[in-house]
């Protein structure tokens, strides 16, 4: 009887010792040396995991920053002081990155763009509307105005204005690209803030036809081309296209004679000149992680 207990205890103690040795050896042999600065840098990052820097998340970004493979300023979410703090901590150059902002290339809100039908579906999202013959608007390229981009934005940088258009608040926008991805019409573009001359239209229809569908459509009249510096703007398939390589030549003059206000000079926020209201809370359902 006693011997059986002794044997059992002995076996367990032996096993325990064996595994302890394996663990101890593994700890020594398989140890991964990690730079402790990675944890520190990650701690100083905003933890948004938004992907605006082009990396899968803040941790990977921190690893690359410490390895000096990427400039800290690529993190557009961090404030300038936070970036400087990290640069100081690592003793490296912060680099400089021009702030980019999402711009909506459509100005056809409820008042400007005509609708052919009324969308009666209960799935009240732009994506849901887009699967039903591209939504009710007469213009096949136009913003559907149900605010998928507003819902998807992690930084509350978008709101639907009174006209049913999503307005981007440049101070809050981190250029993470979520709105670019969700928009079924592909109307958002991430632009450096220095690009102030913007064509807010994507319609490829010929002049009067485009205008019959939306009062702020580009009619490809060519006045902006004539008024701007040579080569800055050209008309390509019934749409004014700006060559941003020559952005330093841009001036508000190009917008002055536009008959439909399709080309605009944006100092800060788009759609500023129109009265805007904040949406009452709960008007658009917010996507949450909870299922």
């Amino acid at each position: 009887m006693v011997s059986e207990i002794v044997i059992a205890v002995g076996i367990l103690a032996g096993l325990g010792l064996l595994f302890a040795i394996i663990l101890a050896v593994a700890y020594k042999k398989l140890r991964v040396e990690e730079d402790p600065r990675i944890d520190q840098v990650e701690e100083m990052l905003p933890h948004a995991n938004c992907g605006a820097c082009g990396e899968p998340g803040c941790r990977v970004f921190a690893e690359k920053v410490v390895a000096n493979q990427i400039k800290i300023s690529k993190c557009t979410v961090s404030s300038q002081s936070a970036i400087e703090r990290i640069a100081e901590y690592l003793g490296v150059d912060a680099g400089s990155e021009e702030k980019r902002v999402a711009r909506l290339l459509c100005a056809g809100g409820k008042k400007e763009a005509h609708s052919l039908a009324e969308y009666a579906g209960t799935l009240r999202t732009c994506r849901g509307e887009a699967v039903v013959t591209g939504g009710p608007k007469a213009c096949a390229w136009g913003c559907l105005g149900l605010g998928d981009c507003v819902n998807v934005c992690d930084f509350d940088a978008l709101f639907l204005n009174e006209d049913g258009l999503p307005a981007v608040i440049p101070e809050k926008c981190t250029a993470c690209g979520d709105c670019v991805e969700i928009c079924p019409k592909g109307l958002f573009e991430l632009m450096p803030e220095s690009r102030k001359l913007i064509v807010q239209c994507k319609s490829l229809l010929e002049g009067s036809l485009a205008e019959s569908k939306c009062s702020v459509a580009c009619t490809a009249c060519g006045r902006c081309v004539a008024d701007a510096a040579p080569g800055l703007i050209e008309i390509r398939s019934n749409l004014a296209v700006i060559n941003y390589d020559l952005n330093h030549l841009a001036s508000p003059e190009a917008t002055l004679r536009c008959p439909t206000n399709a080309i605009v000079w944006v100092e800060n926020q788009q759609f500023e000149k129109r009265p805007t209201v904040w949406l009452p809370l709960g008007r658009v359902e917010k996507y949450t992680e909870e299922t």
Binding site: R127, A130, V132, G134, W141, L205, Y287
Partner: protein
């Protein structure tokens, strides 16, 4: 309901598991003979009427074209040719409204005032003299696509690679969508062409067995095809199937007839089956025997808000407005227009778009039938699971789509869904399940293509 034994049908009908039984409404148009639509003034022929690359126009503004003349050649291998449905003049090649809601390049033709139905094409060589490669090329040049609705180029489907063996050639005459009767009428009135087209296809495919699957609510079509088969001396098995939606989906048809499942992400040919819509086979026969490329198709114009429901042989490119006018126009109560049937059809915002190769029906409904119900929370009743013919979990997929969890949707096999709409039909809470899944599928595809 139908005299199964009197018509020589089997007592126990073959079918698949799950599915739904929507009301049929086929009586509105099933007894109407196919009428030919007279020529209208203007035709709009989108260059993309099929799955794949758009066709490349070979005509220019101001050019005269004859009925049946090539106006656009295939843009790539997965693409087909396009022909003029009428004698006339090309007035424009530009952007025009497409039934899918986009503005896409199209050829606009103004018909001659006294245009005749005379076809201006040289006679086609008899198909028996052709090699398989020539046959496949001929179908592509004829512009033939699957007329069931998806408009997949027929030559790609019929070009079976050497390592695959076709056991079964199945012709799809199920037409499980409520309201639609165009395939039914085609089987009755073009029975001879259908059997002849099958013979041509079988000559090149060399399938072990040939059968035509028809839902049992069309006993007259079963009889007509058996008679035509005996008359032409080409034996074809006619298999009546149980009336159930979506019986006409090719994977469901294979499961009903063979009891085999097509694996997820695979095609019917991977299990040795070739499925083709009956209209496609008729188009095949008409091309080889009468040299007529695909320039017209049979469309059901129906619904309780159409003055005179009918099955119409329509030249491609005819504006839908003219087609509906031809059927007596809509009554005052019309509130919704669908392209296709009520289950998978797409709601239209305008009638100014043209008829394309994939159009199988125009359905106009009244307020009473389209009453929108409010959406409530999912009560976990599981009816959508019992309806889904592919054994997916629509409730979960719909939830994931509304939360924007696209990767999880893909893990839950969202891409296998063929959007039959059975889940939305049975949902007691009125949740737009299939629409949410469509959104998710589009999202997954977009992210993949990046």
């Amino acid at each position: 309901m139908i005299g199964t034994t009197a018509n020589g049908l089997k007592d126990k009908l073959l079918t698949f598991r799950h599915g739904i039984h929507p009301e049929e409404y086929k009586e509105l148009s099933s007894c109407r003979r196919i009428e030919r639509m007279p020529f209208v003034e203007d035709y709009t022929l989108p260059l993309l009427q099929h799955i794949g690359a758009p066709s490349r126009p070979v005509v220019h503004k101001g050019q005269r074209v004859r009925k049946g003349e090539l106006i656009a050649e295939p843009g790539s291998y997965v693409s087909v040719a396009l022909h003029s449905p009428v004698d006339g003049t090309v007035t424009d090649v530009g952007l025009y409204g497409h039934p899918n809601g986009q503005m896409l390049p199209a050829i606009r033709i103004k018909a001659d005032p006294f245009s005749t139905q005379q076809l201006n094409r040289p006679a086609q060589r008899p198909p028996e003299e052709l090699t398989k490669e020539e046959f496949i090329q001929a179908i592509q040049q004829a512009g033939i696509v699957g007329l069931g609705g998806a408009a997949f180029p027929a030559h790609v489907k019929f070009n079976i690679s050497e390592d695959k063996h076709c056991r079964y050639l199945m012709l799809n005459g199920c037409e499980c969508e409520p309201f639609l009767t165009c395939d039914h009428r085609v089987m009755l009135e073009y029975a001879g062409e259908l059997i002849d087209g099958t013979r041509i296809l079988q000559h090149f495919i060399q399938a072990d067995k040939v059968c035509i699957a028809i839902e049992a609510n069309k006993p007259d079509a079963v009889v007509a095809l058996r008679e035509a088969s005996a008359r032409l001396g080409f034996p074809v098995e006619v298999a009546p199937l149980k009336v159930k939606y979506p019986q006409g989906a090719e994977k469901m048809m294979i499961s009903a007839i063979l009891g085999e499942e097509v694996p997820a992400g695979k095609l019917p040919i991977d299990v040795g089956v070739l499925v083709s819509n009956v209209g496609t086979i008729v188009a095949l026969s008409q091309y080889f025997r009468q040299s007529q490329p695909l320039i017209e198709r049979v469309i059901t114009v129906t619904g309780t808000a159409v003055a005179r429901p009918a099955n119409v042989l329509v030249p491609l490119g005819t504006p839908m407005r003219d087609l509906v006018e031809f059927c007596g126009g809509v009554t005052g109560e019309a509130t919704r227009i669908l392209l296709g049937g009520p289950m998978m059809g797409i709601v239209q915002k305008t009638l100014d778009t043209p008829v394309v190769k994939g159009t199988s029906g125009i359905l106009v409904l009244t307020e009473r039938e389209v009453q929108d119900i409010d959406t409530f929370s999912c009560i976990r009743c599981g009816r959508c699971l019992e309806a889904c013919p592919l054994f997916l979990n629509p409730a979960r997929l719909g939830l994931l789509a509304r939360k924007g969890l696209w990767d999880d949707m893909e893990d839950n096999n969202a891409l296998d869904c063929f959007e039959c709409g059975s889940c939305s039909y049975v949902c007691p809470s009125g949740i737009p399940l299939v629409q949410s899944i469509k959104v998710g599928k589009a999202m997954i595809r977009e992210r993949k293509s990046k």
